[in-house]
């Protein structure tokens, strides 16, 4: 018998498979397809204080081995998520979730995290610092170590649950940002968010996406994500949830060898809605193939 259990900040997961924010809604859509309690957990759609429609369409462009999205954090807003989405989810799901939170100012992050902290269904708060700072000329909080640390400190001050900072890869030195978050009190790091990319429609000679640019994800970005997780693992002592292009169960093992304690599955969910369930089911067989008896023992084993 192999052991697929992993532990994130004291929270033991049955397995490290976690659908990523923005590819799994608030869970119950997928609960119509299979029993989502088989997952380690999942990260809910990025939630902001106010409801957001997001960007105009088209929001999606295809790429070789991936896709670009510019959804723009569409969500019903904090109050509705707590009043409607979570109760609906609880009818079909009995584990805790990762609450993914976004904001356009530190106050917004604080307000959102403080409320999420009170929800019994929330196990970890995952703070997306890739959104542009409304007060900082539109620059993303996550592209600057001091801003990322400021967000971390502010949300840590109003929360009791573990706080994981979700880092953007669109930076020169992700290691310094991860370290700044750790020093500011982060309990863990989620990485990586999507990479900025774009496509141009040859017929219209204009960008495919209405927002011009968007976040590139899918199997094409896996080597970049893996490299960054490997680098950050060497620099910090807090757990890393690794993500970016994970498509197969072998990819899960590879990401854990680089240093991830658990993994998130993003774009792959959109291509195969059953992929996360298939990974959970395949994991023991793949572990046996590579003579792994306990998954928690391989975290960072490639170093």
């Amino acid at each position: 018998m192999v052991n697929t259990k992993v532990t994130l900040s004291g929270w033991e997961l049955d397995n490290p498979i976690i659908p990523a924010s923005g590819t799994f809604g608030y869970g119950y859509e997928f609960a119509e397809l299979y029993d989502i309690n088989c997952l380690g957990t999942f990260s809910c759609k990025g939630t902001t204080v106010e409801p957001r429609f997001g960007n105009p369409t088209p929001r999606i462009a295809e790429c070789p081995a991936g896709m670009i999205n510019a959804v723009g954090l569409q969500n019903p807003g904090l109050d509705k998520v707590i009043a409607e989405e979570f109760p609906r989810l609880k009818e079909v799901y009995n584990k805790k979730i990762i609450a993914n939170v976004s904001g356009f100012s530190i106050d917004e992050y604080v307000k959102c995290c403080a409320e999420m902290d009170k929800q019994d269904i929330v196990g970890i708060i995952e703070v997306n610092v890739s959104c542009p700072n409304g007060h900082g000329g539109g620059m993303s909080f996550g592209t600057d170590a001091a801003s990322a640390a400021a967000v971390t400190r502010a949300v840590k001050a109003v929360t009791t649950k573990p706080v994981y900072i979700k880092l953007t890869p669109n930076v020169t030195d992700i290691v310094s940002i991860a370290k700044a978050c750790e020093e500011a009190g982060a309990d863990g790091i989620s990485m990586i968010n999507t990479m900025m990319g774009m496509r141009i429609d040859l017929r219209r000679q204009r960008p495919v996406i209405a927002n011009k640019m968007g976040g590139f994800s899918g199997s094409a970005i896996m080597p970049v994500a893996l490299r960054m997780v490997y680098q950050v693992f060497e620099a910090v002592n807090i757990p890393i949830i690794g993500m970016g292009g994970i498509t197969t169960t072998e990819d899960v093992i590879e990401m854990m060898l680089a240093g991830a304690t658990a993994v998130q599955i993003g774009a792959a969910n959109l291509v195969d809605p059953f992929i996360a369930k298939k990974m959970v089911e395949e994991l023991p067989t793949v572990m046996e193939k590579y003579r792994i008896t306990s998954l928690s023992e391989i975290i960072g084993a490639a170093h």
Partner: protein, 244 residues
């Protein structure tokens, strides 16, 4: 929604760039005319959403136009090829509101989903009639299939080579009375119809999709009843909720 493997039984051109693909497989997840399927194609990352033209218990008919890499790949596929397909996607048309003589209006590649709709309406004892709009004679397809159902078919061509010269809205003036309308086609056509008719009806929309089953919010639109996802809450929207 179901994920399943379908085997191509036939795949043939109907015009220079419109093809009909018939597949065998489990169609039990399809519950309404106007729904679509999402097809995984080798070498392409995202699935291709294609409307269902017709289906029965174990066959699925898709009529698609070659517009890009995915549909070009599909057009070259041979009988016997197996495809990973998600079925039963989208809401589809609601036939309960049709009244006795609904009008079905299709423009170009928007024509196919109306075929099974016509069959369902006939089976419900209603008398549908159909307007099909194309650019020119050579681009006409599915006309005979509709005629074989015994329903009145009005053709509009932009160049006047067949039927009424002009758009489907011009054919609207000659097709007589109707109780309700159902339509699918390019968005400018949907909008022109919306403005040209006083009848109530339903429009099927198109949008670039990520997943096709409601997870990614890639194809959201605003309606009078709040935000909707074209892939999950649509592709069919009621006239009364559309915001142009």
């Amino acid at each position: 929604m179901k994920q399943g493997f379908f085997e191509i039984l036939s795949n043939k051109p109907l015009t220079a760039d419109v093809y009909e693909m018939v597949l065998s497989g489990d169609t039990s997840a399809i519950t309404a005319p106007g729904q679509f399927v999402n097809i995984l194609l080798d070498g392409l990352y995202l699935r291709r959403p294609i409307s269902v033209c017709d289906y029965d218990e174990n066959t699925l008919t898709l009529v698609y136009k070659v517009v890009g890499k995915g549909t070009a790949k599909m057009s070259a596929m041979e009988a016997g090829t197996k495809l990973d397909i998600l079925t039963g996607l989208g809401n589809g048309y609601d036939t309960a509101k049709s009244g006795t003589t609904p009008l079905l209006i299709g423009g170009g590649v928007g024509v196919p989903p109306l075929y099974h709709l016509a069959k369902v309406l006939l089976a419900e004892g209603k008398q549908p009639k159909v307007i099909l709009g194309f650019n020119k004679a050579e681009e006409i397809f599915c006309k005979e299939q509709f005629e074989a159902l015994g329903v009145p078919v009005y053709i509009a061509t932009a160049d006047g080579s067949v039927g009424v010269k002009g758009f489907v809205t011009d054919a609207l003036k000659v097709c007589g009375d109707y109780t309700y309308f159902y339509t699918c086609g390019p968005e400018p056509m949907l909008k022109a119809l919306y403005n040209a008719t006083e009848a109530d009806g339903q429009c099927s929309f198109e949008e670039r999709m990520g997943c096709g089953f409601g997870a990614c919010m890639g194809c959201s639109c605003k309606t009078k009843y709040g935000n909707k996802r074209i892939c999950k809450d649509g592709p069919v929207l009621e006239k009364g909720e559309i915001i142009w």
